[in-house]
Subunit: 149 residues, 2 copies
């Protein structure tokens, strides 16, 4: 159990790892059926005829699994992980059987101009598969409380 | 049924609307339990003590619901909606009972430098609640095939 961290506890260059999460075909299809019902996320045979050349997870599913890995990781801002802005790149398909993990790095830490009780932090989180190939790159701006005086 | 559109069929300024999707507390909690298990997304009482001041959907849930609205909308690039890069801003909590819809606008259309058979399009998709308040702003870069010669 890691103690929650305030803005003052974070510094540029800090890194945080995660556990691993295995992706199976049923969860790829289940997420897609609810949120992203396109052939390349729903059906192996149909997916073979698309540019994915086989079943691949929705990018939104990859983003959601990344969040789960992050919430369970040692990255524990006080008050939770609260993103206000995010940039995402999907570089490689996520396939059934893939095992995902994330690596986060603090890029920027700054007090808020308008809110003396909080600050903003920029964090890069890269999601890797079991071959250490990046499947998603994310840069998030998160709100972090300052340590109470 | 709208016919799929190639890059040549899109132009800056085109707009696309969507249907509506109602958000309930059970689906907010269900998504959070799987992907974003933080108190403000999981439990009404616990959420009241957080900055959200009540149960709110995970931003990733809002993003996933936005994708569903988009896939079901009249925005139909040939070959599907294939994002490679996305920027997201969450401006307002999504609450149980909210009814979401999206509005998309084409911001940029350009042929690929490296792939003569495809192009890239930048699209802004804003997600609104039933009071026409924006809850999420997204700018996506999507790959769109060119019309076969």
């Amino acid at each position: 159990m890691t103690a929650p961290r305030y803005l003052e506890d974070f510094a540029v260059g800090q890194k945080f790892g995660s556990g691993r999460l295995t992706v199976d075909a049923a969860c790829i299809r289940g997420f897609a059926a609810e949120f992203d019902p396109q052939p390349f996320h729903l059906d192996e045979a149909a997916a073979r005829a698309t540019r994915f050349n086989g079943l691949a997870a929705s990018g939104w599913h990859t983003a959601a699994m990344t969040m789960r890995l992050l919430v369970d990781s040692e990255f524990k801002p006080a008050g939770g992980i609260l993103g206000v802005h995010v940039e995402l790149d999907w570089s490689r398909p996520v396939r059934p059987g893939d095992e995902l993990r994330v690596e986060s790095e603090v890029l920027e830490v700054r007090p808020s101009q308008s809110r003396p009780d909080q600050g903003l932090m920029k964090v890069r989180t890269t999601t890797f598969n079991q071959n250490d190939e990046p499947v998603q790159a994310m840069v998030s701006t998160v709100v972090v409380p300052r340590r109470p005086a």
